[in-house]
């Protein structure tokens, strides 16, 4: 392949450029930044709702991969109703539909993880989120990720490291660490990246924690990364509006896959 230069472009929602240029940049570079997608009050509500949960169960998922100085929460929609405004953000769903729609009838929420990286945490190993699936088909994305900055993301406090253009790599050993850039963004910023894009949490060398909410969206015929049926109580899931319920898996793929008696789509 001819050498290409990759970058992470940034789009301001207030500029009303529409979905297409954003998707174009995402496809080209494997990642894209979006600003001003939600009011700051939404971000503050999400942080406020998640805070007690971080404190009570944030350490449950600590591991070498997740880090030992990082708090993580799953079952986010069972803990923060305001998070639904990020998870089911119309622009995110529109972009997900554009990227994933050619390969499925409907997509679902893969996982929703709130991540608070504490001072002193080391950089996370670069990885592709879609490696939870054992099959890769060049040109087919199995999932995309939407990372919301709930605090400012800076080079010092662990802004996510991304390798632009790495979604195009077909040889695992051709990844070069020095092509990594950090996706700094203001509180409320949104980083979108493809399931094939190499990335990793940054080291937090500041003296403040940094908080993000990472939501993934995957093809509706795949198993979902987080078992929402077990992490978000059904009664809570069903209290959300239809698009959120569908994302949580209270729907089927094309009428038969994921079937249960009460689904709306059961038909001939």
């Amino acid at each position: 392949m001819r050498a290409r230069k990759f970058a992470i472009q940034s789009f301001d929602v207030d500029a009303q450029v529409g979905t297409d240029p954003i998707v174009m940049a995402l496809r080209r570079n494997g990642a894209v930044l979006i600003t001003n997608a939600v009011p700051m009050e939404t971000i503050d509500s999400v942080i406020g709702e998640l805070r007690p949960w971080f404190d009570s169960e944030g350490k449950v998922q600590q591991s070498a991969f997740n880090g030992f100085t990082t708090l993580r929460l799953s079952g986010v929609l069972g803990k923060s109703r305001a998070a639904a405004d990020l998870i089911a953000h119309p622009l995110v769903l529109d972009i997900a539909d554009t990227v994933l729609g050619p390969h499925c009838s409907s997509f679902r929420l893969g996982s929703a993880s709130a991540i608070e990286i504490w001072p002193g945490e080391k950089a996370q190993v670069l990885h592709r989120d879609d490696s939870i699936y054992p099959l890769r088909i060049p040109g087919v994305e199995w999932q995309i990720s939407a990372l919301w900055a709930l605090t400012d993301f800076t080079p010092e406090n662990g802004a996510t490291r991304v390798v632009p253009g790495s979604h195009l790599l077909t040889e695992a050993d051709s990844l070069k660490e020095d092509t990594t850039i950090q996706a700094a963004m203001k509180k409320g910023g949104l980083l979108l990246y493809l399931g094939t894009t190499y990335h990793g949490g940054g080291a937090n060398a500041s003296d403040e924690p940094r908080i993000g909410l990472v939501n993934t969206y995957s093809l509706g015929w795949l198993r979902v990364e987080e078992n929402h049926y077990l992490t978000v109580p059904r009664a809570v899931a069903e209290s959300y509006p239809e698009p959120v319920r569908q994302l949580l898996g209270y729907s089927s793929h094309a009428g038969f896959l994921g079937w249960y008696p009460e689904i709306a789509e059961f038909r001939n």
Partner: protein
């Protein structure tokens, strides 16, 4: 080309070989008729109460169907988790996944007068097909004797190798009669369909599918078998119901049994 009928005492490796070659195989009288009577007895009230809820052109209008089987019949776990079935699933599916799960468990009672079901491939619920790779297999248990007259399943032998997207002609299929207690295996990519029931008695079967553990389940077991019931089953059955992860991360929930440290 037909479908072989093997004995339960045959070498499992030979049964697997016939399965791979023809895409389907029958194992005769693998379990006792007494076990089948237990399963049929446990399912009976649910067939009578819920059996018509999923009638449609594809499923038929003279056929009763029920799902959520493991919440209705504990004896069914002895079929769904039968060691020979798991051996077959291991051989066919574990090349492509770290573990597999139940796709669906469906009780099907074809009533007299039902028409033949159209030929189909079970793996058509997934939008990708890769030659030589099976996404799922099916085990169809005869809770009654399956005869030519009462609708023994139609199967097109070796049709897992067909690359044409259209169905074979109905005449290309053979019926797979088998005694009560027998099981018919077929690959997810094999063309098959329920037979017409021209007898004067219903015939009951239990069709269990097993799919790659990184795919979505056909039947939503989490919503159809309450967790507290699922967790009363032995470990292999709990896992097949989805209480496991694939490779430590996929399908994650707190307390899943596959924690790994990288």
């Amino acid at each position: 080309m037909g479908i072989q009928t093997r004995q339960a005492t045959d070498d499992p490796a030979a049964i697997v070989e016939a399965f791979r070659r023809d895409g389907a195989v029958i194992v005769s009288e693998l379990v006792s008729t007494a076990l089948m009577d237990d399963v049929a007895g446990e399912l009976r009230p649910y067939f009578d109460k819920d059996g018509r809820r999923t009638e449609n052109d594809f499923n038929g209008y003279s056929t009763l169907r029920i799902s959520g089987i493991l919440a209705k019949s504990r004896s069914s776990a002895l079929l769904a988790g039968h060691p020979l079935v798991l051996r077959m699933a291991d051989e066919i599916l574990l090349q492509h996944c770290a573990n597999y799960q139940f796709g669906s468990l469906t009780g099907i009672e074809i009533q007299p007068g039902e028409n033949p079901q159209r030929l189909h491939r079970d793996d058509g619920i997934y939008p990708v097909r890769m030659p030589g790779m099976e996404w799922q297999i099916s085990a169809n248990w005869a809770l009654d004797e399956f005869t030519i007259e009462n609708g023994a399943t139609h199967v097109v032998s070796r049709s897992h190798r067909r690359r044409e997207p259209w169905p074979p002609a109905a005449e290309e299929s053979v019926q797979t009669p088998m005694k009560k207690g027998s099981v018919l295996f077929y690959m997810g990519s094999v063309w098959h369909g329920g037979g017409a029931n021209k007898s004067n008695r219903p015939r009951m079967g239990l069709v269990n599918t097993y799919s790659l553990g990184w795919l979505r389940h056909e039947e939503n077991h989490y919503l159809m078998v309450p967790r507290e019931i699922a967790e009363t089953y032995p470990e292999p059955v709990r896992r097949l119901l989805g209480y496991q992860s694939h490779g430590g991360f996929l399908g994650w929930y707190e307390g899943h049994p596959d924690e790994v440290q990288l």
